[in-house]
Subunit: 645 residues, 2 copies
């Protein structure tokens, strides 16, 4: 493969496989426009979230842990949970991507400052952790199930890769390399035969291998991936499936256990399959993904039903109320699907990425980028209590967004995703360029044979259905522009040179000579639609949800008259949803909030809360909002799945 | 109040209020027949469960903790959780009731032996706990949220009360009295101003007061009840509502937080209201009970939706799959409703007791009394893995019954309930005798004015609908026999002297002169019925359950052909359920187990798994079983709420 684009530039991306069906673009090749939906999110992340996270890590003492290590005041002055170190690394990763895109000097200075504090705490043999190994602390690697030492390293390596790819080798790379070498020495073929309770080191090692091309890191990643599933970790109340140590990754048929753990492991296994040419492993992971999508994924793309163990439920256990849908699981799902998309080129992976970005990742942060959902329920039964902007709350206790959590994995995970989001829009292969996500952006890339391609995407999608793609640079000969058509877009069309053609879900490919300056218009109709669920998802059986384009909508009590609870609303499905002033409006009956002495009975009328029939005079218009924008107007009740008559 | 029955005999009962609307009978007044449904359960408990529990407590080392305390080998040799001591006390309580009913010498010997081991570990000032206060252990009362020291005492006092009432004062009473005095000294008006993280001491103190008539115990119980709810305990991830420290018991409107904690507290508060004549507090507790029944209780009577914090959910959060319904919460609910029934005489409390006994308490133990459910789901999606008879499992990891749990609160709670079950059948008041539960039994009691009353109840209820009540002893003048008519029994009848009269749900009272030897026949029709739920319980909206008399039924996959999963079954509601060979049979369609790529779509047909219409040739008979008897035939899937077309 010969590239005219310098490889260092090309590699400004989180995932750089050596050979996949599709090749990713870098941050400098695919640039979000700050006027677009995702560009605005990206800007808020750069201008608010990064600094918000740095502020809280300082305030919570998690950054100070490294200084305390140097000062010799650990363990007394240690703050935060076992995985607090990883938050600093995830912030470094996020900052690195942002610096890679904009070259902002203040961010560079922060990266250097934080790196110096981290580096100072590294021990002579490469070991680096503020929670283990000192007098008064547990010895190194004595709590492999819960200690998160290797997990922390994984995030350190991902941060170092991001820094290297955006600004070249530096102190962070040196720290990470010493850690990576220490891990290979300690957990290699002749080392400790175990795995970390939380998969993540595998992802870090795989990308570190891709960066350095040193196969020992690939080998170590492979050891960790293949070791897991043989009962090396302690059995616990929730079973070894919690950390995927119940069966080898090659034997599993579906994701199970702790959702973030399962998805990080699967993403690393895709990396491994790709780098080792292991098509069997890749096929296994595609099957696991498919089975998970078919029965263990929420409409939003959210994954993980259980609060207790933050885990996938059994098939079809997807209740709306208390849906856990951890934000980090959404991020991990995007990471996994992106790798599968690169490896296979199948549009279904890009479909899930879009669904998850708009309905999980975009839901977590408030518009100001300074508070976050940790979990993302689909049904809020009780009004939450607003969280003040200076309060650190337990992770999942609030129904409203909170500025910081005791377990604050989600803000930095969202931040690193938004900072690198430009990379997830498009790919190239030998035939041409593929556009997967429709953000307002500018793309200037080189095809694998070196021919430059450029295009500007102008759109207000998902608010408006028109996506204008203007060719800004094109080879003089034929190439292929492929556009994903989401599975829900059953009435899409593509306009070229005044000709409009209907196109089917999947993707549409145009192979010809393109002229510079010409514009193609993709239209993805945004007619709101009722969505129903497989009857085996009992929790929402007989309910309907509203979707519009890639957006899942919801009903929030703030949009209802008086003190109406969302549970009182019963939808009249016979009236199609319509758009009024840009909002999706449906017709519904408002039931009485009265309740029975005992909520079960032989006759439906015993438990119905108002007239059984939808009578005209009882019907009213009800407006919905995008799910990602709920809980921005104070305490409320909320439903995604609505009752029907 | 003058009793001809000696008060010591009369008081062989767990709850002895000084004055309530109804007065409870003692174990020797109300004797279960070993041929009846509950008598058999009571016998299995005596012959198997008591010894099973003693065996496991020895094996798990929880009994040995007391010996280790004496030997000075704590904390090294301590076994079990913080509340392990309480299990010994609950076993002592269960054994005491059983001894009280039968006078079995082997049980008496066990009680004496265990008591001696416990007593030896008590400290000079009355403090007694194997987990705190020694060198190497945390100091006394330094972990009030989770340490369970006062909780353990509560169970010790309940055990001592049971022992005293069944065999008079002995060493166990002495131990408990020294503990109770120590508690009053330590946590009294001038003592530590806090409450235990797990309510229970309040129940122990209230009954210890009733036994001893020493008002300092009443006062201390009142202090604990009134202190709670003022934020004395630490805030935690799940909020202070977890241990009901979020608001005073007088201000709450519904039960919330950890279900067992909430119900123990409420039961103690009823005791307090009764003993202090606090009608306002009693009314508040009745309201909390009513609101909980209306929106936070499962069809089985099970309480507590959440696995994570073993807690009540918000109103209408009652999903069948992963219903937690801890067995202990069922026991606690019976304790609470019994106290409310005594205080008010309202039949609704007896209704819930019946529902909970048959569908939660009876569900937990296997027929052999040697394995137990800890939680009681209403929907088993995946076949469980059978648990060997010699394995101690984490509390909720298994979908099948297990012989012992790391947190093994449920077996002893069931055991003490079954051992004292005779006490819950009937009451007396100045007018006469009230029969609340229909077990085969013999009752010989005295009315408050001293007139003796005797009756034998002969019935195969709930398998057969006829309940024959024969008067074995009766005053020569008029008195009132009241019989509860369950709320579901809309077609009940009472036959007296050849005359049959229809009677309405609630209760029927017969006031006249009864002749010795005469028989009244109460018929509670056991026609199986479809039951539906309030539409706001989304998780089961549109589903139906089957009930027959007081029994909730369920569908278990073992009763389906081949490898059919219960989720494939779709009920035809147009065909009434019928009885075939004693089993309830319904008509249903068996759907294909096929699934879609994505389980959500705009058309129902996209997600339906077979023909939408119920066609005759696809219909089949499906037999249901009582819910309490599921999981007795190996791994299976199971549903209480069934899909409908």
């Amino acid at each position: 493969m010969t590239l005219t684009t310098p490889s260092a530039l090309r590699a400004v991306q989180p995932v750089s496989p050596s050979h996949t069906r599709l090749s990713p673009l870098g941050l400098r090749e695919s640039v979000l426009d700050s006027d677009g939906y995702w560009g605005r999110r990206n800007r808020v992340n750069a201008e608010a979230t990064l600094w918000h996270c740095e502020h809280w890590m300082e305030r919570a003492g998690w950054l100070g842990n490294f200084d305390a290590a140097v000062a010799g005041t650990l363990p007394e002055s240690r703050r935060g949970r076992e995985f607090a170190d990883s938050e600093i690394y995830k912030l470094l990763e996020a900052m690195s991507w942002e610096y890679g895109a904009t070259g902002d000097a203040a961010i560079d200075a922060s990266i250097r400052s934080i790196t110096a504090r981290v580096a100072a705490a590294q021990e002579a043999d490469g070991y680096l952790n503020t929670n283990f190994g000192r007098a008064g602390q547990a010895p190194r690697y004595t709590d492999i199930e819960w200690g998160h030492e290797l997990y922390n390293y994984g995030h350190l390596m991902q941060a170092a890769v991001a820094r290297y790819r955006t600004s070249g080798p530096d102190a962070l790379f040196d720290v990470a390399k010493r850690v990576a070498d220490h891990v290979c020495d300690t957990f290699g073929d002749d080392g400790i035969q175990t795995v970390c309770g939380h998969p993540e080191i595998e992802l870090g090692l795989m990308e570190f291998y891709r960066l350095t091309q040193d196969e020992k890191y690939l080998h170590q990643a492979q050891l960790f991936v293949e070791r897991r599933g043989h009962g090396l970790l302690a059995d616990i109340e929730w079973g070894r499936s919690y950390y995927q140590d119940d069966m080898p990754v090659r034997e599993a048929t579906v994701f199970r256990g702790h959702a973030v753990r399962a998805l990080y492991l699967a993403a690393a296994a895709v990396d491994l399959a790709v780098e080792t040419g292991d098509t069997e492993l890749l096929a296994t992971l595609e099957t696991q993904w498919s089975n998970t999508i078919a029965a263990r994924t929420y409409l939003t793309g959210g994954m993980g039903s259980h609060h207790q163990d933050e885990a996938f439920g059994e098939d079809f256990v997807l209740p709306s109320d208390r849906a856990y849908c951890e934000t980090c699981a959404g991020v991990a799902s995007v990471m996994l699907s992106w790798r599968l998309l690169l490896a296979t080129g199948k549009s279904r992976y890009a479909d899930l990425i879009e669904r998850t970005l708009f309905n999980v990742v975009a839901t977590s942060p408030a518009p100001d980028g300074r508070s976050f959902f940790y979990s993302n329920t689909l049904h809020q039964r009780a009004e939450g209590v607003a969280v003040a902007s200076d309060v650190q709350v337990p992770r999942a206790s609030s129904s409203l967004r909170a500025p910081w959590f005791d377990v604050s994995c989600c803000p930095t995970n969202v931040s690193r995703t938004l900072a690198s989001l430009g990379c997830y829009l498009a790919t190239v292969d030998t035939s041409g360029l593929q556009l997967h996500q429709y953000a307002q952006c500018s793309i200037r890339a080189a095809l694998p044979d070196g021919r430059p391609v450029g295009l500007d995407v102008s759109t207000r999608y998902p608010v408006e259905e028109e996506i204008r793609i203007t060719i800004t640079e094109a080879p003089t000969d034929e190439w292929t522009l492929s556009l994903r058509v989401p599975a829900w877009a059953t009435d899409a069309s593509l306009e070229q040179a005044g000709q409009v053609a209907q196109i089917a879900p999947g993707s549409v490919s145009v192979t010809r000579v393109f002229s510079q300056g010409e514009t193609l218009i993709l239209r993805l109709p945004l007619t709101p639609r009722f969505t129903r669920a497989d009857a085996r998802i009992d929790a929402i059986s007989g309910s309907v949800a509203l979707e519009r384009g890639p957006l899942v909508l919801c009903l929030e009590s703030i949009d209802l008259p008086g003190a109406t609870h969302v549970d009182q609303v019963v939808v009249d499905e016979s009236v199609a949803p319509r758009i009024v002033d840009g909002r999706t409006v449906i017709v519904a009956r408002i039931d009485s909030p009265d309740r029975q002495v005992w909520p079960y009975g032989t006759e439906v009328s015993e438990v119905a809360t108002a007239d059984d029939a939808l009578t005209d005079d009882a019907l009213t218009d009800v407006a919905l909002i995008p799910y990602y924008s709920w809980a921005n107007r104070g305490p409320s009740t909320m439903r995604v799945w609505l009752r029907t008559a």
